[in-house]
């Protein structure tokens, strides 16, 4: 009788604990696939050593399969080129082989690590590592290594749009190239402040996007992405 009860209990719990990484990725992908397009408004805070720019009010437009546009509502905005990867369908949209990367914790939440290797040999993406919350089927963190544009890292936190796999906040980290103007070109006012370039080299850039609201699956014109 004891053995029967044990087998009965095992039969219910085993699928939860030993959830296959492929099915976990598929579940996360299914959630994201439900979004055909969205329009979101938010604020983008860019933190790059050589850029002293204010927080920008931005609109973000997405349309399947991988069209994404970040537009400044007013003023000038520096939009990181890799910002297209803030859309998860860009990472999970193509064909890939999934490798189980084990377990980890993000902010105390247990996550599963999935390494995605694109099957297309010519893909710009070399490797994507995604950290998935197995309970909510949400991607909490993603790291994408590309051939041309270095490595991007995304950290997401979710709120009322979690059901669509859309985050309330994204912290997007990216590589920046050194910015150096030739001396004497700008005829600057020397206020006596001394800054050594070695103190500021090789730092990563960071953009923090906080979304206010999403308008999901209401249709978006293609013209928005060409402007």
């Amino acid at each position: 009788m004891k053995n029967l009860l044990f087998l009965f209990f095992l039969g219910f719990t085993l699928p939860v604990f030993a959830q296959d990484i492929n099915s976990l990725v598929a579940s996360a992908r299914k959630k994201i696939d439900a979004v055909n397009d969205y329009e979101a408004s938010g604020r983008m805070k860019t933190n790059v050593t050589f850029l002293k720019v204010p927080v920008a009010t931005v609109s973000i437009y997405f349309k399947k399969p991988n069209k994404l546009k970040v537009k400044s509502e007013k003023g000038i905005s520096f939009v990181p080129k890799g910002a297209v990867s803030i859309n998860m369908s860009n990472i999970l949209g193509s064909d890939f082989t999934v490798i189980d990367g084990g377990d980890d914790k993000i902010n105390g939440v247990p996550v599963k690590i999935a390494r995605l290797l694109p099957t297309d040999e010519n893909s710009d993406v070399v490797l994507s590592t995604v950290y998935i919350d197995p309970v909510k089927n949400l991607i909490m963190k993603a790291r994408t290594t590309t051939r041309e544009n270095g490595t991007y890292e995304l950290e997401m936190s979710y709120g009322k749009f979690a059901a669509f796999g859309l985050p309330d906040k994204i912290i997007f980290s990216f590589n920046t190239k050194d910015y150096k103007l030739p001396k004497g070109v700008t005829f600057d006012f020397d206020d006596g402040t001394k800054i050594k370039a070695s103190d500021v080299k090789n730092k990563k850039g960071r953009a923090e996007i906080t979304f206010k609201n999403y308008i999901i699956n209401k249709g978006i014109s293609d013209a928005i992405f060409t402007k």
């Binding site: 850029l51 002293k52 970040v70 190239k177 103007l181 005829f187 800054i195 050594k196 850039g205």
Partner: protein, 297 residues
């Protein structure tokens, strides 16, 4: 004193060379505006360099009236001292050349008053030039290119930076910058007038002033530690570009610009005080030398 001042202004207004400066400014500003309207993105590409590899930016928005004025002032304020010297260098030597200096000094005014009034008239001329620059370089550019946030490209120490100032935080900076430029150019006027006391014709003091400004500007822009520490602080040309300090916006710990702030107000204030000091010294020297000047020979 007031009538003497009015006469000096009248004399300046009647000299054809007075208007050369206004025509030159109009021409230079016009050429810049045409060039940037035709192909401003090339300049923007040069300044942005590798930033374009990492970021997308609407360059047409960045080339706006505020940005244009900054670029024009950057170039023009190097040449304007020459235009100021054209008038101020003629203040005393012009009178000597025409033989009116003795006549002027027979009037019931002291020599000190004559120097002060001629300096005041040169300053008014300088301010008029700056107002004209504001009209053509700022307001006309705003009309042609529109207005938006302003980007400042800057080298600070060994680091290059891009500062962004929102469009509602720019105009007061221009007013302050033009005010600073008026003080800076008044130093040139005082120098040219001081040199004009020693000459019998205007060419000498004008060329001497221009040469001093050029040599000192070249030294001010040499980036050698030994010159930075031992020579630059004593050259007035090191402070001529202090107007730019009004566009170096203060930032918080995250590098986010703070609206209405200045990165280093004490440095701007000290530069202003040094420029006022130069004016004081040059004017005093002019008064002393002019009071001792033999006008009979």
């Amino acid at each position: 004193m007031w009538s003497l001042f009015s006469i000096e202004l009248y004399k300046i207004s009647k000299r054809p060379r007075t208007y050369i400066a206004f025509i030159a400014i109009t021409a230079i500003v016009g050429i810049f505006q045409f060039a940037f309207k035709a192909d401003g993105t090339n300049y923007m590409n040069l300044m942005l360099q590798s930033v374009q590899d990492t970021f997308d930016l609407d360059k047409t928005k960045a080339i706006n009236g505020y940005f244009m004025c900054y670029i024009i002032l950057n170039t023009l304020l190097i040449q304007v001292p020459i235009l100021v010297a054209l008038i101020a260098g003629d203040a005393i030597s012009g009178e000597a050349n025409m033989g009116t200096l003795r006549l002027l000094l027979t009037k019931p005014v002291t020599r000190t008053q004559v120097i002060l009034v001629k300096f005041a008239a040169s300053t008014v001329y300088t301010i008029m030039l700056l107002i004209w620059m504001a009209v053509t370089a700022l307001f006309l550019s705003m009309y042609i290119f529109g207005v938006d946030d302003m980007l400042i490209f800057r080298v600070k120490g060994e680091e290059s930076q891009i500062l962004q100032i929102t469009k509602d935080d720019i105009m007061w900076r221009y007013i302050a910058a033009f005010g600073y430029a008026a003080v800076a150019l008044s130093v040139i006027a005082a120098l040219a007038m001081f040199l004009s006391i020693f000459a019998e014709n205007s060419i000498g003091p004008i060329i001497a002033t221009v040469c001093i400004v050029i040599v000192c500007t070249v030294i001010s822009n040499i980036n050698l530690p030994v010159i930075d520490d031992n020579v630059k602080p004593y050259l007035f040309t090191s402070y001529l570009v202090g107007w730019k300090g009004f566009f170096y916006i203060g930032t918080n710990a995250d590098g986010e610009p703070i609206k209405g702030s200045l990165e280093n107000w004490p440095a701007i204030r000290n530069s202003l005080l040094i420029l006022f000091g130069h004016i004081g010294v040059l004017l005093t020297a002019s008064v002393v030398v002019f009071n001792k000047k033999d006008i009979l020979s």
